[in-house]
């Protein structure tokens, strides 16, 4: 039944070409059967820009459907999903944060990876600390901000820096990647390790210096439709849009890598 709904939703949004589960029902549906009501999407904060764009596109192609986006840290979102938040779609910034949600069996079907994200070094405009590469993060004279290893961006930074053979000398281990970016934007640190998408979102407020991944896989963003979704049709419509060519373009423009990226 769900596959049928998915196909209907995708056809209605004109995105059937990207349906992952082509079935006999792909030919069904007319514009009048499109999803309506409100669809609630819990998404990692780093997806703010591309998802906001996609949401208005989904609303434009589905008159009567309202997309409500709730952005927050992935762990917090996972907790909300576990606590039974009345949401339809969950997208986290790492597979590890999706894990407890999967274990609790509150997801409908398998989650799909929709994007990847690499780390990069953000520096204030003009690069006052003359940061040239990963090695400078070990310089005790430079003010350096990383995410705490307890959160996904920090765990990834730890692995990447270890692979690069850099013993980083951070001055602060922030709670989330946006806090690291804020410290860079304010010029309080000479360098901060953030996601590529954060640098794109920051525009002219920061510059960036490449951080070699050292063979460490980028973080992957799994998307799941929740089993208790109050609006499964709407959920599939939004999920379909994320997987569509339009969705990929929006994510790519925002600095995200393709879902099938390899290190």
């Amino acid at each position: 039944m769900r596959a049928v709904l998915a196909a209907v939703a995708l056809t209605a949004t004109g995105l059937a070409g990207c349906a992952t589960d082509p079935g006999p029902a792909t030919t069904a549906a007319t514009g009048n059967d499109g999803p309506t009501g409100t669809v609630v999407v819990l998404a990692a904060a780093s997806l703010t820009e591309p998802f906001t764009r996609l949401a208005s596109e989904v609303e434009a192609t589905n008159p009567g459907l309202t997309v409500v986006l709730s952005f927050a840290g992935s762990s917090a979102l996972a907790q909300q999903a576990l606590a039974g938040a009345p949401a339809d779609v969950l997208v986290t910034a790492s597979e590890a944060t999706m894990e407890p949600v999967l274990a609790a069996d509150v997801v409908a079907g398998e989650p799909v990876v929709v994007a990847t994200n690499e780390l990069t070094i953000a520096v204030p405009p003009g690069n006052p600390g003359h940061v040239r590469g990963a090695g400078d993060l070990a310089d005790g004279d430079l003010a350096v901000a990383l995410c705490a290893p307890q959160v996904p961006c920090g765990a990834l930074a730890r692995d990447v820096l270890a692979a690069d053979g850099v013993a980083a000398a951070p001055d602060t281990l922030e709670q989330d990647v946006k806090a690291v970016l804020a410290k860079v934007r304010l010029g309080e640190v000479d360098a901060g390790v953030v996601y590529r998408s954060d640098v794109v979102a920051a525009g002219d407020a920061v510059e960036h210096v490449d951080l070699p991944a050292g063979g460490v896989a980028p973080t992957r963003y799994p998307m799941a439709v929740l089993a208790g979704a109050p609006n499964p049709d709407g959920a599939e419509a939004f999920a379909g849009a994320v997987r569509s060519m339009q969705g990929r373009e929006a994510l790519s423009a925002a600095g995200f890598g393709p879902a099938d990226a390899v290190p």
Binding site: S75, A143, Q150, V151, D171, Q175, L186
Partner: protein, 256 residues
């Protein structure tokens, strides 16, 4: 008791106490000793006690004289001054942290010249934690001490003056001993507020184990990966709060 008063009162009691009860019920009592012996926890607790004590010291040194100026002088505009210095009381602490960064950060109004001239950078240091805590806590002390000064009998100070004491001597030998309970209560409130400080600290001072990561920051971070540890840390803070309440009991619980 009229129902219209007793029912909301009972709801208020439940609302204030049930969350704390939940904390006690869900506490990982069995693994608690192990969690509390974790060096990271010990470090955060040590840092919290140290910075809250230093912040209280700063508040006493600067806040008591300010309270005296507000209560005992005819300084023009002191009503406006009183309103202004209590702003941090109602300001969201994160905003306080941003304001501190804009003043004392590396590119701040004062912080910039400080870095260029003396090579001193405040953010990400323990000093920054003390400053952030003092910023949000000092109004508590000022309000408390000023209130004590207003209710204290001024005739004793007048008598000291007629006996030849100058104003500083009268303040030191007469006024201060008279308002000592008010100063103590203010200091305890100030300490409690400093101990719980989160927003201004994480914004202005950052978070690094042993340097700037105080207990509330450790609780928030622990929630990400280890909710049990977060509950254990919260219990420690709750314990300290109860101690603070005991220290204040004569003033607030009416047991004179």
């Amino acid at each position: 008791m009229p129902l219209l008063l007793s029912v909301p009162a009972a709801v208020a009691v439940a609302f204030l106490l049930l969350p704390l009860l939940a904390l006690l019920v869900r506490a990982p009592w069995r693994s608690l000793p192990g969690l509390l012996a974790d060096p990271l926890v010990v470090e955060a607790l040590r840092l919290s006690l140290l910075t809250a004590t230093l912040a209280t010291g700063v508040c006493l040194l600067l806040g008591v004289p300010l309270a005296w100026v507000l209560a005992r002088t005819e300084l023009p505009g002191r009503r406006l001054l009183r309103a202004l210095v209590t702003v941090p009381l109602v300001l969201p602490p994160v905003v306080g942290g941003v304001a501190l960064l804009l003043l004392l950060g590396r590119r701040g109004l004062l912080g910039g010249p400080l870095l260029d001239t003396f090579g001193v950078s405040l953010p990400f240091t323990t000093t920054a934690v003390v400053l952030a805590e003092a910023f949000v806590a000092m109004p508590f002390l000022v309000v408390s001490v000023e209130g004590a000064l207003r209710t204290a009998d001024r005739r004793f100070e007048d008598a000291a003056a007629t006996l030849g004491a100058d104003r500083l001597t009268a303040f030191r030998r007469v006024t201060l001993p008279m308002v000592a309970p008010g100063v103590a209560a203010g200091a305890v409130l100030c300490f409690a507020r400093a101990l719980g400080e989160f927003g201004a600290t994480i914004t202005f001072a950052g978070s690094f184990p042993g340097v700037t990561r105080t207990m509330p920051l450790a609780v928030y971070l622990a929630l990400e990966t280890d909710p049990e540890a977060a509950v254990a840390l919260s219990l420690v803070l709750l314990g300290v709060s109860v101690l603070v309440l005991l220290a204040l009991r004569r003033r607030w619980t009416g047991a004179v």
